[in-house]
Each structure stands twice: as structure tokens, then as C-alpha cells.
């Protein structure tokens, strides 16, 4: 029969609407402003003891709060506040009440009912322009990482040749090739053999001497793959370091992500003190290699340090005060396996570091060499100045902990290994710490966007208001212009927004201000499909068709046009997404989602309602 939808189509529409509503609904529950606390180190537990303490501190300051309880994992706790204005003050009060050793971060506590979150339904994440926060784009100077590495090789090769009494001139060309010039062919070939043996990552080959007499050339270059490896390595090393530091900042839900070839995005929602954030992100950890102190060493020559990961017998060890080398000399550290398949960490030093290491270790075989990991931390102290104002001072200090203490089996040089590790995981962690402590390729801040919380809140408010006004205006217009059909299209439009929001929540998309603009624009454009259909129906009626036929041909004929028009717009939206970054992407996501959902709601959705109203009965006149 004409204009009757089969049951499955109606059910499909109901299902989409139902799922849309279900997944969009968490957005109705406004989250509570909250403060989250967690331990400084991973082993620390947060229990009711701490929560009671901070609750009492908040009470004393008259900050209204509720629901202070430790989290399920026992590692963090959350306290909800009645007023969001209190957040910063509460953070300070809690930090003071608990003292150092705790990370106190601003957070938003979800109010989504449990049955909804069990279904995976969560509210949309808000972009920094809506929630307030800091966005940094950092660039890793990979060129300098490669240049430093090449210099290490050049000095290393020079030294190796000198030691083997191979006479020749070695230098680093501008293009990044290590060139060698020799008097005899024998010297050149010896040098080649040496480089091939000691520096496998270099591709060394003879170079034609072009008719010159008694001069023999060779050239060693980094392969493209190796180059890329160094770049990747520099970036991932910085990523790891940045992640550690961001955790130290105590921000809930931070984002540290690689972007493109050599960039890293850091997003910190809700952070206020950008100067502090930049200081912490930009600082460097360090390493010190020191010999273990002899038992009979003088007290003034030795120092006691804790192990970073205690658990294997000794909690601490005595090391000499003299430093063999520092982290700057470490070029690389990688976890691997030795000949017997045991986990090990291979360390590469630069040539100067190699020399120093060799000088010290050759006389100290069978003693133990310790590696200290040094992190800059800060202690907070509170005082009251003459004006009665509370002053908060942060005193930075270095925390030094032993990450490795291994026996020297042989004189160490540019490359050596730490063996005797229990598990591959241990090797990986040690390598990571060594790399984090070594000076990574320098990073620069290339972009920063900070949005204050008040601007964020205002952006949400204004964005929502414009969606409401836009929707209202379009609804009034459509109802006046198309009457019953207008009402149908407005229902579809509301349905469209619900499905869009549901999809975005389900996909875990982030809502940004341009994203809201995309929703507003979709509201304006989504009615286009209905306008096309309705004007077709009017035309068909004018051409003398019966109402039922007019509906059917109207929908049918408009369909092809709608598809063509929307697919081209979708193409543009996809390009926008592919080429754009940040704000442009947010817009592209909502725009493309809006196009897809609006096609469904404006064609199938309205058809179902129209069928319900007019389908399967005699109709003499359409209210269109």
C-alpha cells in the first residue's frame, strides 16, 4: 500500500531514536565541581583517613562539600563541591591539610546514573575552549638530535682510528656524512672494517678518488631508516618524559599525544598556573653514574641513597661522592636480550662520556657502578606576611634515587650493557628511566592556548543559547510555511539533534565551540532536505496528482537530489577534518555527523511520521 512503512522500518527508526536518547541523556546530568586527590607515588593508598581529614579542613574553611570518598581502586579520592567558585580555594585548603606527597587536582565528578554508565553512556567531553585549560604544542628538535648523534659518531671514529693506529683524516660534512681521507688503500680498508664492526647503524663505503694520486676516500652515512629511528626515538622519549611530568602536575584527564612527525600536543584541562605548567614541562631530569663506595671509605667521600624500586634485599646503598659521568653523556639506552636470552639494557654514551667511563672503570673492575636518577621536585611551605596575607612558597629540591647498581665486569667504553636483570619488564623500565634522565632532544613551545574557566563557561552558555534561538526561529518558520509538514520536520530536527549528541557521546568526540557552531549550522541546513521534499510534494499536487501519490513521488524524486547535495558537502567536511587541526576538526566532526544523521531523520524520520498521519487512508487535501 502507498505510504505505509513496513514494520521493520518503523522499528528501526524507533531503535535509532531510543539509542540516540539513551546515549545523549548523560549530557543532561551536569557534573559536580570536584577536587581529586591521589598519592604522589604509585604505591600510596588513599583511604577514609585522608578523606576525613580533608573533609574536616573544608568544614573549617566553610567550603560546602559532599560525597568525600576514596575511589574504588584505593589510589585516589574525590570530594564534590556545592559551588564551582570554591574549587581553587578548596584545592589550596586540601593541599595544605594533606601536606606534600599528594597530588591535588581540580576535576569534574560525573553524575551519570550507574545503569547508564554501565551501558557505556557518558556525557560528551568538553574541549578546552569550553572547560577552560591549557593547550600546548611542542616541537621536538629532531635535527639537533641527529646532528648530536653524528658528532658522537665522528669523535668516536676518530678516537677508534687513533687507538688502532690507522692514520687518516675524519670530518663531518655539512650534509651529515662522515668523510674519511687516507694515504693508503690499506688504511682506508682497515678504517672501513672498523666502522662496519663498531658502528653497525652507519653505512660505510669507499668513495672513488677521481684520479687523485695516493689519496683514498671513504664515507659513512646514517641510513634513512636509522635517521627516522633517531627522530622517532627522540619524539617518543620526549613523550614519555612529558607524560611523567604531566602526572606530576596533578591534572585530571590530561592529554599527551604525538602529532605529525615531530610535534607533541599537551592538553591540561582546568589548569590555572600556566607559568608553573611550562616550567615543569620544560625542565629536565638527570642521571649520575657513580661508583659504589668502599667499606673503608671516609664518611665525607660517600653518600647514602635509596633505591627507586626497593624490594630486592637492600633498601639503600652507599655511593662515592665523585660523579663519573652525568646524563648529558648518555646518547641512548635500549632494552634488549643478551646472547643467552636474558634481559639487558644497552647504553650508548657520547665519545667524551666513553673516555671518562673508560678511565674510571678500567681500574675498578669487579666494583659496582650505580646510576642515580635525579628529579626536581618542590616542597610547599606556608607562612603569613605582615599584612596577614597567606604566602605560599615552593622550595624546589632534587630527589636522587638509585635505579641501577651493577658490577663492572670489564672496562666500559662508549657502549656497554647492564645485565643481570630479572625480567624484560625491569629492563624496559630501566631503559626508560635512563632515557628520561638523559637529555632528550630539545623541545620548544610552538603554540599555546589557554582559556580561563569563566570564558569556557560563557562559551557553553552562549553556544547553547544560539542553538536554542536558531532552533526556535527555524521551527517557527517551518510551521508557518509548511503547516502539518512543518511540524513533522521540526520533530525530525529535534530528533536529529538528539541523535547527533548521542552519536558524539558514543564516539567519545570532544565538544568544542566550533563544534557547537557546527550543530547550529546543521540545524539550519538539515531542514534543507525537508524543504526539497515538501516543495516537490507541492509541485506534484499542483501538477494534479492525488495527495498520496504526491507524497510518494515527492519523497522519491527529492531523494536523488538530497543524496547528491549531501555527499558533496560531506566530501568537503571530510577534507576539512583531514587538513584541519584543533578547532577546525571539531567543526568538521559535528558537520559531517550532522549531515549523516540529518539525512536519516529528514528522509526516513519525517516519512515515518507523515505515513503515520496520512498513510493508508483517503486523503483529499494535504496541509502543506
Amino acid at each position: 500500500m502507498l505510504n505505509k512503512y513496513p514494520l521493520w522500518k518503523n522499528l528501526l527508526i524507533m531503535a535509532v531514536l531510543g539509542i540516540g536518547l539513551l546515549y545523549a541523556s548523560p549530557n543532561l546530568y551536569r557534573p559536580d565541581p570536584a577536587v581529586q586527590i591521589s598519592g604522589d607515588s604509585s604505591g600510596m593508598e588513599i583511604t577514609a583517613v585522608q578523606m576525613n581529614k580533608l573533609s574536616a579542613a573544608l568544614d573549617a574553611q566553610g567550603i560546602e562539600h559532599f560525597g568525600a570518598e576514596p575511589g574504588e581502586d584505593g589510589r585516589s579520592g574525590l570530594v564534590r563541591l556545592t559551588h564551582s567558585d570554591d574549587q581553587l580555594r578548596a584545592q589550596k585548603v586540601i593541599q595544605r591539610a594533606l601536606g606534600d606527597g599528594y597530588v591535588v587536582a581540580l576535576n569534574l565528578a560525573s553524575n551519570t546514573p550507574k545503569w547508564l554508565s554501565d551501558l557505556g553512556a557518558e556525557a560528551m567531553k568538553l574541549g578546552l575552549d569550553l572547560s577552560g585549560g591549557v593547550h600546548f604544542l611542542l616541537e621536538v628538535d629532531t635535527d639537533s638530535a641527529i646532528a648530536t648523534r653524528l658528532e658522537h659518531y665522528t669523535t668516536g671514529i676518530k678516537k677508534a682510528l687513533r687507538e688502532d693506529r690507522i692514520r687518516g683524516l675524519i670530518n663531518l660534512s655539512e650534509e651529515g656524512a662522515i668523510r674519511g681521507k687516507f694515504r693508503t688503500e690499506e688504511a682506508r680498508d682497515k678504517a672501513l672494517a672498523l666502522i662496519r664492526k663498531e658502528y653497525r647503524e652507519l653505512t660505510a663505503q669507499r668513495v672513488d678518488s677521481k684520479g687523485e694520486d695516493a689519496v683514498f676516500y671513504m664515507e659513512a652515512i646514517l641510513s634513512e631508516a636509522k635517521r627516522k629511528e633517531i627522530e622517532d626515538y627522540a619524539v617518543s622519549q620526549n613523550l614519555t618524559t612529558l607524560r611523567n611530568r604531566v602526572n606530576e602536575l596533578g591534572v585530571s584527564e590530561p592529554l599527551v599525544q604525538r602529532q605529525g612527525r615531530n610535534r607533541i600536543v599537551v592538553e591540561l584541562p582546568g589548569i590555572q598556573d600556566t607559568a608553573e605548567a611550562k616550567r615543569i614541562l620544560g625542565k629536565t631530569a638527570n642521571l649520575e653514574f657513580r661508583l659504589e663506595a668502599r667499606y673503608d671509605a671516609d664518611a665525607s667521600d660517600r653518600e647514602q641513597f635509596q633505591f627507586r624500586n626497593p624490594g630486592r634485599g637492600e633498601p639503600s646503598a652507599w655511593l662515592e661522592r665523585d660523579v663519573v659521568i652525568t646524563g648529558e653523556r648518555v646518547a641512548n639506552a635500549q632494552a634488549s636480550f643478551d646472547e643467552n636470552g636474558m634481559p639487558q639494557v644497552s647504553i650508548t654514551l657520547d665519545s667524551e662520556g666513553g673516555t671518562m667511563m673508560h678511565r674510571v672503570t678500567r681500574h675498578n673492575i669487579n666494583r659496582r657502578l650505580g646510576v642515580l636518577f635525579i628529579e626536581r621536585k618542590s616542597r610547599t611551605s606556608y607562612s603569613t606576611d605582615e599584612a596577614g596575607q597567606e604566602q605560599v612558597t615552593r622550595i624546589p629540591y632534587d630527589e636522587k634515587k638509585i635505579i641501577s647498581l651493577a658490577t663492572i665486569r670489564d672496562a666500559l667504553g662508549v657502549q656497554f650493557r647492564i645485565t643481570g636483570l630479572d625480567a624484560p619488564g625491569e629492563a624496559a623500565e630501566l631503559a626508560l628511566l635512563l632515557r628520561a634522565g638523559a637529555l632528550a632532544a630539545p623541545i620548544d613551545f610552538v603554540e599555546e592556548r589557554t582559556v580561563g574557566p569563566s570564558l569556557g563557561a560563557e562559551n557553553i552558555e552562549k553556544g547553547l543559547l544560539s542553538v536554542q534561538i536558531g532552533l526556535g526561529l527555524v521551527a517557527v518558520f517551518m510551521v508557518i510555511y509548511y503547516r502539518v509538514f512543518g511540524v513533522v520536520s521540526v520533530i525530525a530536527l529535534a530528533f536529529n539533534i538528539v541523535v547527533m549528541v548521542g552519536c558524539m557521546s558514543l564516539l567519545g568526540a570532544t565538544l568544542t565551540l566550533p563544534g557547537i557552531a557546527g550543530i547550529v549550522l546543521t540545524v539550519g541546513m538539515a531542514v534543507d532536505a525537508n524543504v526539497l521534499i515538501f516543495s516537490r510534494i507541492r509541485e506534484e499536487i499542483a501538477a494534479g496528482q492525488s495527495p498520496q501519490q504526491a507524497i510518494n513521488t515527492g519523497y522519491g524524486r527529492a531523494f536523488v537530489t538530497i543524496m547528491d547535495a549531501n555527499i558533496t558537502t560531506l566530501i568537503v567536511a571530510v577534507i576539512l577534518y583531514a587538513v584541519g587541526t584543533g578547532p577546525v576538526r571539531g567543526f568538521a566532526v559535528t558537520l559531517s555527523l550532522g549531515i549523516i544523521t540529518s539525512m536519516f531523520t529528514a528522509i526516513m524520520g519525517t516519512r515515518a511520521v507523515v505515513n503515520l498521519i496520512y498513510g493508508g487512508r483517503r486523503v483529499t487535501k494535504l496541509a502543506i
Binding site: L455, N459, G463, S466, V531, L532, D564, V572, V579, I603
Partner: protein
């Protein structure tokens, strides 16, 4: 089809319209060449700080206090309201600058200031964004050309792309003329204009194609007039609803998406005009006729996919 319906003779005015379009495009290009766009921070690089004072302060005072600290080249303006102050520094500065300026502003105000936002864009990022933006516009135009040529016919594709180019250039021209800030969100708006204007052009082209195939005994010129008349109602209603929401966005959406809304307003107004005149006039100029569309069996296949 009823014979007595009104047909608006759009094409009678096509020469005037073409001249107008050509004049507007040339004027826009000249403006872009001479005056250029007022590129925002995203593209030039630099530092921007927005703060709110408790009560309004004379901008000259803010400028003076900044100049004392060595920021002579700071541009200080009000943003939205007279307590809202925006400070912009040119490129080549370091990322720490934002915090330094903030502390200067804080020192100069007894009640302190509330930070709204800091934006720092390094020069290389600005340059990349500029390149990417240009690339995106170009890429969009090419892909659209290919798609329309495949789905319709090459003459339609040229018409549609010319209309897009027309809309983009005139929108940029208006931005140059008025001196509105051109930032990333405006670029997104320009790309959205491409999508929207295309939508319009396709609806018109679709009807022209349908009528060229289905109606006999009319000249192509008449068929275009009939098609434009057929779609006029839809074109105006859709543009109308979109303009309605954009006006809402421009008025209440806040300062941060103001230029975005303005770009779309201009673009869609121009796009509505171009979908009527630019596409159709070009089709006439390229002598579109029934013979250009002799693959009717393809149409049959698509009609099957009725909803």
C-alpha cells in the same frame, strides 16, 4: 507539468548578472592583492592575552604600563565590553611572553585581573596553517570538480566550481574590505561555504538536468528558466533558515565565533545568488543542451533506491 504556471525569466538578466559577478570577483581580487586579509593570530603567529578588569580602565593607561615594561609594540583593544581587554603582540616572541604580560596587567590593576585566555602561536606554525588552509580550499575544489563531473557532466562541474570560486573569492573580498580578522575558524567557515554553496548549485543543476532530459520542445534557455523557477522557493527557504540560525549565532554566540558567523553569513548570501546566476549563466555560455546528457539508463538505476 502544468502549462499555466509562472516562469521567471532569470536568464534575461544573465548578462547584467555576469557583469556584476565579474565586477565583484575582480574587485575582491584587487582588494586581496592590495589590502590583503587581516590575518589573525593563527596565521601570523604571535601572542594574544585577553583579560577582564573589575572595572573599565582607559586603554591608554594599559598601553603605557605595558610600554614601561618594554612591550611598546603591543596592540591593546577592548573585546566585547569595556572591561574586557585584549593585548596582542607580534610574532617572533617567546612563549613565556603571555605570562609576563599577564603579570604586568595584574600589577597595574588594584583589583587584579581575571585571565580569559592566552594564545601563543609560533611563526612556523602560523606559516604551516596558512599553507594547509590554502591547500584545503584547493583540494576541496578539485574533489568537488571530479565528483560533479562524474555524477553529472563536465559542464555542470565547471559551473559548480566556478560558483564556488566566485563565493569564496567574494567572501574573502568582503573580509578584506571590512578588515575583519581572518583566523582558523573563519577558514573553517570558508570551507563550510564551499560545502553549502555546492549544495545549492547541485540542487539547481539536478533540476536543470532532470528538465533537460524530461521536457521536450523547449530551448535550453527556457529549460534553465523553468528549473530556476522550480527551485527558487527551495533555494530561498533553505538559505532563509540557514541565515536565521547564523544571525542567532552572530548575535548571541559570543566574540569567539563572531567572525565565523559573519563569514558564513556573507558566504551564504553570496552563495544563494551564485547558485541562481553563476551556474546557470555558465551553462548557457557553455551551450548546454539535451545532447550533453545522453546516458539516461543511469538515472533509472538510482530511482530504485527510494526511501
Amino acid at each position: 507539468m502544468s502549462e499555466e504556471r509562472i516562469i521567471i525569466r532569470f536568464m534575461a538578466a544573465r548578462k547584467v548578472a555576469s557583469l556584476l559577478s565579474a565586477a565583484l570577483v575582480i574587485a575582491s581580487i584587487v582588494l586581496l592583492g592590495v589590502k590583503g586579509l587581516n590575518f589573525g593570530l593563527d596565521f601570523t603567529g604571535g601572542t594574544l592575552i585577553e583579560v577582564i578588569y573589575e572595572e573599565s580602565v582607559p586603554l591608554q593607561e594599559v598601553r603605557n604600563s605595558l610600554a614601561e615594561e618594554g612591550f611598546e609594540n603591543a596592540i591593546v583593544v577592548n573585546f566585547g565590553s569595556d572591561t574586557d581587554v585584549l593585548v596582542r603582540l607580534p610574532q617572533g616572541m617567546s612563549p613565556e611572553l603571555g605570562d609576563q604580560v599577564l603579570s604586568v596587567l595584574e600589577a597595574g590593576s588594584p583589583g587584579g585581573v581575571e585571565l580569559r585566555r592566552i594564545e601563543f602561536v609560533g611563526p612556523q606554525v602560523g606559516e604551516e596553517l596558512r599553507e594547509q588552509g590554502g591547500l584545503a580550499v584547493l583540494l576541496a575544489l578539485i574533489v568537488v570538480l571530479i565528483y560533479v563531473a562524474m555524477r553529472f557532466q563536465l559542464k555542470f562541474a565547471f559551473g559548480a566550481v566556478a560558483a564556488l570560486g566566485h563565493d569564496v573569492i567574494i567572501t574573502l573580498g568582503v573580509f578584506s574590505l571590512v578588515g575583519w580578522d581572518f583566523d582558523l575558524t573563519v577558514l573553517a567557515a570558508v570551507l563550510a561555504v564551499i560545502g553549502y554553496s555546492l549544495n545549492d548549485s547541485i540542487v539547481v543543476a539536478d533540476r536543470i538536468r532532470e528538465n533537460l532530459r524530461g521536457m521536450r520542445g523547449h530551448t535550453p534557455l527556457e529549460i534553465i528558466d523553468i528549473s530556476l523557477t522550480d527551485t527558487l522557493g527551495r533555494t530561498l527557504v533553505t538559505s532563509g533558515t540557514t541565515l536565521l540560525v547564523l544571525i542567532a549565532l552572530a548575535l548571541v554566540g559570543g566574540e569567539m565565533i563572531h567572525s565565523f558567523a559573519l563569514a558564513l553569513l556573507v558566504g551564504i548570501a553570496v552563495g544563494t545568488y551564485s547558485s541562481i546566476y553563476v551556474v546557470a549563466s555558465l551553462l548557457v555560455a557553455m551551450k548546454i543542451s539535451q545532447e550533453d546528457l545522453v546516458v539516461p539508463e543511469k538515472e533509472g538505476a538510482e530511482v530504485d533506491e527510494l526511501p
